[in-house]
């Protein structure tokens, strides 16, 4: 599964240990209705290094969300191990924050209080600094002035900005994003994709970004992990090797971008067809 990761320079000393290390990971579910075992993912190996932006691309139902949930500590592996910074994952932790596809905001909390939630549960709100940090996160995602709005008063894109601020305020080392732009409209999606890119480049977070959009996977990722379905497993891992900052306009004539897009399109098309047939 290791591919062309070795060309980064830095030959001195041994390479640093990966921040996320996944070995032979499988997740199976018992389906009560049919009495059968469902293999969600099987034999997944992946290393993610500090500061890396890894996009996970695959068709619906390929287990990429299950994979992310295991790293988040929400789903227990059936076999295999997931190490974060050398220690096995036994549950959610303050070193990881998740941005959800359906935003998962608390409807009874205002924007400010939703962002505050990122700090509140694990660390408590002692001292004075937390207000500034919450406000800073809100301003960082461009929601200044909406602090006292309720989520249902906001558009989908703005709700996801709240989700991003909540994740950033927790100051995790790893951001796990589960199709964060899957539910927002096309135009907002492009704008927010570029903003997420800038925020990540600025903060240097390690990111696992789940998506089913080929363009998103190429434009955001340092590496693209392609999943296949039935059972869910890694099909291939590709270095994007495109200069940053990238935008749709700047790369759309780049031969590397076109090559990646064609390659991924073919890979996914085969998967989507296979998925449709097996249903």
């Amino acid at each position: 599964m290791t591919t062309t990761t070795g060309q980064r320079g830095e030959p001195e000393a041994s390479p640093p240990a990966p921040l996320i290390s996944v070995r032979d990971l499988s997740v199976t579910y018992d389906v009560a209705r049919t009495g059968k075992r469902l293999i969600a993912i099987e034999g997944v190996d992946l290393d993610v290094h500090e500061g890396e932006f890894v996009t996970v691309l695959g068709p619906s139902g390929c287990g990429k969300t299950t994979f992310m949930n295991v790293v988040a500590g929400l789903v227990k592996p059936s076999t295999g191990t997931v190490l974060v910074d050398g220690s096995p994952v036994t549950g959610p932790g303050p070193d990881r924050a998740v941005v959800f596809q359906d935003y998962a905001l608390l409807p009874w909390r205002t924007v400010f209080d939703n962002v505050k939630f990122g700090l509140e549960m694990q660390k408590g709100l002692k001292g004075e600094g937390w207000r500034d940090r919450v406000q800073e996160a809100i301003e960082m995602v461009g929601l200044a002035g909406f602090e006292s709005s309720y989520p249902r008063e906001l558009s989908g894109g703005m709700q996801q900005r709240v989700g991003l601020a909540r994740a950033f305020v927790a100051e995790p080392r790893i951001l796990l994003m589960d199709e964060p732009l899957g539910a927002v409209d096309a135009l907002t999606r492009e704008v927010m994709r570029d903003e997420i890119d800038k925020l990540i480049q600025k903060t240097g977070k390690t990111v696992l970004f789940i998506t089913h959009s080929i363009e998103e996977a190429i434009l955001l990722g340092d590496r693209i992990v392609v999943f296949k379905s039935h059972p869910g497993a890694i099909k291939e891992v590709i270095e994007t090797g495109l200069e940053r900052p990238r935008s749709e306009r700047s790369v759309q004539h780049d031969p590397r971008f076109l090559e990646l897009r064609d390659h991924l399109w073919e890979a996914l098309q085969g998967e989507a067809t296979a998925a449709a047939v097996s249903k």
Partner: protein, 277 residues
């Protein structure tokens, strides 16, 4: 009042529907007022002016108003109304005090749900009038059986709604709670309880209506006092105008309390307030 006009799926928005949807709150109240006035005028014409129906069976609105004035001026209304409202309020509070914690427990624990659920549904499915003779045997002829019937009518809508609210808490929000480090008790306090609040109020609104039915059923036979007894006495003496006046007061109480519950909900849970539709 405007909520009555605004509710329901808006399937398409043509003509009158579009006009109604675009009304301001004052406009909606105006539409309702016009509706009520038209209904009263037609009623008055049919019974009072043209005399198509014997007013002993269906008195016209003006006669009902006179009946109301007589009830007030003769001093008959107050003792009956006070005893009814007292029984209603005690019964309702008893129901809420039992139903909310048990409902929360049912929603939290599957074993409790499996044991209590079928019993709760069975009692809820029993028409409250069936308990009426038993209630007299158990609680005598005073306010006791009325409180019992109010409480047992109001209990289950609250209980079952609260339990459903707990169970249907958005799993995605629960995951978010876990990701950001909420412990079990923190999840309960900050995720499950708040998401149950709208269900609690839905249950309370249903309970208001059912409690009123329970109250009248309990008072209709064997009671010497109360609004139900007043209706029976008025009908037995052919004072149907007073009977209708008593019914109107009961309806006003029921609608008023349902509105009150909605007001409390807006205050306690401002996030549930519906936007313009």
């Amino acid at each position: 009042m405007s909520t009555f006009l605004a509710s329901g799926p808006n399937l398409g928005r043509g003509g009158v529907g579009a006009w109604l949807a675009g009304l301001s709150p004052a406009g909606k109240a105006g539409v309702l007022a016009v509706e009520v006035v038209v209904m009263l005028v037609v009623w008055q014409l049919v019974v009072g002016v043209f005399g198509w129906i014997n007013p002993v069976f269906l008195p016209p609105p003006t006669a009902i108003w006179q009946g109301f004035v007589e009830l007030v001026s003769s001093g008959v209304l107050w003792p009956n109304l006070l005893i009814s409202l007292q029984a209603w309020l005690i019964g309702f509070v008893v129901a809420a005090v039992i139903a909310i914690p048990v409902g929360l427990l049912m929603g939290t624990s599957l074993p409790v749900d499996r044991v209590v659920g079928p019993i709760a549904w069975t009692i809820y499915a029993t028409p409250s009038i069936a308990y009426q003779p038993l209630a007299k045997a158990w609680f005598g002829f005073g306010i006791g059986p009325v409180i019992f019937l109010v409480a047992i009518s109001a209990l289950f809508p609250i209980l079952l709604n609260v339990a459903a609210g707990m169970r249907t808490t958005n799993p995605s929000i629960i995951r978010a709670g876990r990701v950001y480090g909420a412990s079990r008790t923190q999840l309960y306090r900050w995720v499950y309880l708040p998401s149950t609040v709208p269900f609690l109020f839905a249950g309370l609104r249903q309970a208001v209506v059912l409690a009123t039915i329970g109250m009248v059923v309990a008072e209709l036979s064997g009671s010497a006092i109360g609004m139900g007894a007043l209706i029976i006495k008025s009908v037995n003496t052919y004072q149907t105008d007073q009977a209708f006046a008593a019914i109107a007061i009961i309806v006003a109480w029921s609608v008023g309390m349902a509105q009150f519950v909605t007001l409390v909900e807006r205050w306690v849970a401002p996030w549930t307030r519906k936007g313009r539709r």
